[in-house]
């Protein structure tokens, strides 16, 4: 039995002792060891590690709810957590939205999931070497990235993360699991032109610093001396790194069950809102050779499972925690509770845009992602976009987003890259960009990518779209 599940059980017992048997309680225990080696100007300039165990308690008592957390996991710290959470629950206003506890349920099994845990039933694929990676192993990959850039200035990070977690509630649900992941994200710089390469993996050994550095450098070299283009609607090929941004915004603002319930989302279940070639799945347990590092249960103890959000262009589902599911009249949570889901809404954290059929040539310049090459070869006039940056929602209902391109844009004419282009500002409705008839192609290979800020992961192929609304360029 893991230390985390023992801690969770101890807190459940303390709740029973201090609040009585009528109290409903959920306990999450997370032990996280995070290490990140950061480089800039082609040298390691920040190198950090931490190992923390946190305990989070949500308590529902006499119709009132309160949440508390602590990193003080000794006897006194845990007792203090329970005492102050009980005290808070007793005086807070009533909570008419409480949706009750998850009943005991077994975790779902997926051969693609790299998590494990002695008592989780998920003992496959977990990579101890990643969980115990040293700063030296991360530095080796940084060295390889820097060397492969061939003298260009480089910046980025290599990180490894180990998570061992447990959940227990007073209704008898008790689950545990652990997972490990590694990521590398870096740029090469060439006289103001940047090129990027990034990858997420469940094994550090799957990260090839030299390959990533070479790709970033090839992009930076191909991006030198950019021209500027006027605003207008352009046909585009988005590389996987850019497509991840679309998935992120769909995730947070579109498929969020609370936004949907409150009619602030574009999503309309059963309606053909996307091109028929589009299928989007939330895959917390991974599938089809795309392992998805993460825990096999959510913060309410609901077992994680695959959820089809869009199938062949038709919006099929949004994600729920227990509260939003109850508000929506849905039968059950989809397993997307998080510490913030009650206030911010539950959103998918493992979105995958289904790859398209294989086809066309994969040959092409090293600066172009493999799954984008066939689309570039057939584009008459348009833009190849590597990355999107600082995207923000202007209108939540139509999901109109503004942001900029970054890390490489090129003008494509008659199937050839003709000129690098300076960064561009766009203002574009994302659902409209992927609407019926607007998707000209989906790449045959998905790439697993880390989120730039939160803990989400995205599996994205390249996308060929009929139109993208450019509203300016970065120089004005």
């Amino acid at each position: 039995m893991s230390t985390e599940i023992e801690l969770a059980a101890k807190v459940v017992e303390l709740v029973r002792e201090l609040a009585g048997r009528s109290a409903e309680a959920e306990v999450n225990v997370r032990h996280q060891a995070l290490a990140l080696t950061r480089f800039a100007n082609s040298a390691i300039h920040q190198n950090v590690a931490e190992a923390t165990t946190g305990v989070r308690l949500r308590l529902h008592l006499d119709g009132r709810t309160a949440t508390g957390s602590t990193t003080l996991t000794g006897v006194d710290g845990l007792r203090s957590l329970v005492e102050r959470t009980v005290a808070a629950a007793r005086v807070t206003p009533p909570d008419p939205g409480w949706a009750g506890l998850t009943r005991p349920a077994a975790l779902h099994i997926s051969a693609a999931h790299p998590g494990s845990g002695e008592h989780s039933g998920l003992a496959f694929g977990f990579d101890e070497a990643t969980a115990r990676a040293t700063p030296g192993e991360r530095a080796e990959r940084v060295r390889a990235f820097v060397d492969a850039a061939g003298g260009l200035e480089t910046a980025g990070y290599c990180k490894t993360e180990y998570l061992s977690a447990a959940f227990a509630n007073t209704a008898g649900q008790a689950v545990e699991g652990r997972t490990a992941e590694a990521a590398m994200d870096g740029i090469a710089r060439n006289n103001g032109a940047d090129g990027v390469a990034r990858l997420l993996a469940s094994r550090l050994s799957d990260l090839d610093g030299a390959a990533l550095g070479a790709r970033a450098a090839a992009k930076a070299r191909a991006a030198a001396d950019p021209i500027e283009l006027p605003p207008g609607h352009y046909e585009v090929v988005l590389e996987p790194t850019a497509v991840a941004d679309l998935l992120q915004n769909f995730s947070i603002f579109g498929f969020n069950g609370k936004s949907w319930t409150q009619k602030q989302s574009f999503a309309e279940l059963g309606k053909e809102q996307f091109d028929p070639s589009v299928t989007i799945v939330d895959d917390p347990l991974g599938s089809r050779g795309e392992p998805a590092p993460g825990l096999p249960f959510d913060d309410e103890g609901t077992p994680a499972r695959s959820l089809v959000l869009v199938r062949e262009g038709i919006t099929r589902a949004v994600t729920h925690d227990r509260t939003s599911a109850a508000e929506a009249g849905a039968t059950e949570s989809t397993g997307h509770a998080s510490p913030a889901s009650r206030s911010w809404g539950p959103f998918p954290g493992h979105l995958r845009l289904e790859a398209g059929p294989a086809g066309g040539t994969a040959d092409g310049p090293a600066a172009v992602a493999g799954s984008a090459r066939p689309f570039v070869a057939r584009m008459r006039r348009g833009l190849l976009v590597t990355d999107l940056w600082y995207t923000r929602v202007l209108d939540p209902k139509t999901l109109v987003v503004t942001g900029l391109t970054r890390n490489g844009v090129w003008l494509v004419e008659d199937g050839e890259i003709t000129r690098p282009v300076g960064n561009l500002r766009f203002t574009q409705s994302y659902p409209q960009a992927l609407g019926p008839g607007q998707v000209l192609g989906i790449g045959a290979e998905s790439v697993l990518l880390p989120d730039s800020w939160g803990g989400a992961r995205y599996a994205a192929p390249a996308l060929h779209l009929a139109s993208w609304n450019i509203t300016g360029n970065a120089s004005g």
Partner: protein, 475 residues
């Protein structure tokens, strides 16, 4: 209870393991937050966290390690581990790392706080949010949200140079929003969320309940208001929006770590070139930007930064000329500057880095009414709705919750979905009127760094006028 001993043990262990400089921070943090929706409490959280983070410089390379354990053996182990990580950094080493001179101090500092927010009864706090959201709902909001957040942080800092500084920083803030949902349209009106290094008196001053009905009415009116016209015009910004304009297009641009390329891969760089410090025209003569962690009650206020440097006010832009940066001891040394003082972390488990303190615009001679009266044709916008700026901090596009037409010196029709866009220095050079009505706005959600950190920054700002600005960008 003091934690200097544990911090000192970590520092000594790092030195024993080969570090030529080390510092450590013990932090004990309590936070509390509550949200309410439509007349009911939605979420109430109370969090406690304690730990130690130690930074070690071995040769020319840094290492950082953090543990949630405040025992001396754990502190010593953390110090050794930080030195080991620093040694690994040397595999891909940079140029020699130096630190600017810092006089060791032994000092204590605490932020002002009239009403300790953690002692206000939870029932009273919940009642306030419930009443505010109920009032907005009753006035026509389809969704009404209100929230508050409280941060109570004790820090003990020790360096191998002899610093021993403890601080107690209390911050709080909150707001209320009304959302109206129409046919394919969602409109939000908010009391701009306001935060500061202050006590519960800040929340009382916001009058969440009293403002809620007006916000609901404005949100409903926005559903059918005309769209903000597209084109180039005179733009008047309210103080709350101008605060974010300062944050994004000045505050981040003057961060020295960005200028030096240390944030290039993630947060980006800066358009500013150190060779032009002291001569570059950033804005009009009206533009005076200060870096001022001593500003009373603002969200970026402190007594000492997380390297032990005392809080000092200095100019970043004087009479429109760029004259200063936000710096840390290592970045300042690289740049050849003789000051630091802008390094902070968001907790014991994160590496301190260059962060905005209070970056604000000094007041001008006018009032907002005078600015409007002096404007024949333009648009007024306020309260941020969306924000986006490029990785060099030049090209920005902001959306605001609300706009008004300005015609012949008067405020006219309400305008829906107002946006404006521009290039930083061109925009600031077009500022031709500035109000004296300064408010120190707080931004509690500034993201930077990897692993990610959430910074708290303050932005004293007053309404101002800008000419020739492109507005009404649409998708």
């Amino acid at each position: 209870m003091s934690h200097f001993d544990e911090a000192g043990a970590a520092v000594q262990a790092a030195l024993d393991a080969g570090a030529r400089y080390a510092d450590a921070r013990v932090m004990v943090c309590r936070t509390e937050s509550m949200t309410a929706r439509n007349g009911a409490v939605e979420d109430l959280g109370s969090d406690e966290s304690a730990g130690l983070g130690v930074r070690a410089l071995v040769g020319s390379s840094w290492g950082f390690y953090a543990v949630p354990d405040l025992s001396e053996p754990a502190a010593r182990a953390a110090g050794r581990r930080a030195a080991e990580i620093a040694a690994a950094s040397a595999q891909v080493a940079g140029p020699p790392a130096e630190l600017t001179t810092s006089t060791p101090v032994t000092a204590s500092w605490a932020s002002d706080c009239k009403v300790d927010p953690l002692t206000v009864p939870l029932a009273d706090k919940g009642d306030l949010l419930v009443r505010a959201t109920a009032a907005a709902k009753a006035a026509g909001a389809d969704q009404a949200e209100a929230s508050y957040a409280i941060w109570d942080t004790h820090k003990w800092f020790v360096s191998s140079e002899g610093h021993r500084v403890d601080q107690h920083i209390r911050e709080c803030g909150g707001g209320v929003s009304a959302i109206a949902i129409g046919d394919g349209e969602v409109q939000r009106r908010s009391l701009p969320g306001q935060y500061g290094t202050r006590g519960w008196e800040l929340i009382d001053e916001l009058d969440l309940v009293g403002n809620a009905p007006r916000l609901a009415e404005e949100a409903r009116e926005l559903l059918t208001a005309p769209l903000c016209p597209a084109g180039e015009t005179t733009l008047i910004l309210g103080g709350s929006q101008l605060a974010l304009q300062i944050h994004e297009s000045v505050g981040h641009a003057i961060e020295l770590d960005r200028i030096l390329g240390w944030e290039a891969a993630f947060a980006g760089t800066s358009w500013l070139d150190l060779t032009r410090l002291g001569s570059l025209r950033y804005g009009s003569d009206l533009m005076n930007i200060t870096i001022d962690p001593t500003f009373p009650g603002a969200l970026g206020s402190f007594g000492f930064d997380d390297e032990g440097t005392p809080a000092v006010k200095r100019h970043a832009v004087r009479d429109g000329i760029w004259v200063g940066v936000l710096a840390g001891r290592d970045s300042a040394a690289v740049a050849g500057l003789d000051y630091a003082g802008s390094v902070r972390s968001d907790g014991w488990s994160r590496l301190p880095m260059v962060r905005m303190t209070n970056v604000g615009l000094e007041p001008g001679p006018h009032t907002l009414d005078e600015i409007i009266a002096a404007t024949d044709d333009g648009v007024f916008m306020d309260v941020n709705r969306s924000w986006s700026i490029d990785d060099r901090r030049l090209n920005f596009q902001f959306g605001c919750e609300i706009g008004y037409e300005i015609k012949n010196g008067r405020r006219g029709r309400m305008l829906r979905n107002p946006t404006y866009t521009g290039i930083g220095p061109k925009f600031w050079q077009s500022m031709d009127m500035l109000s004296a009505e300064t408010v120190a706005w707080g931004t509690p959600n500034c993201g930077k760094g990897q692993p990610g950190q959430i910074g708290h920054t303050g932005h004293p700002a007053a309404p101002a006028r800008f000419t020739g600005v492109r507005v009404g960008v649409r998708g």
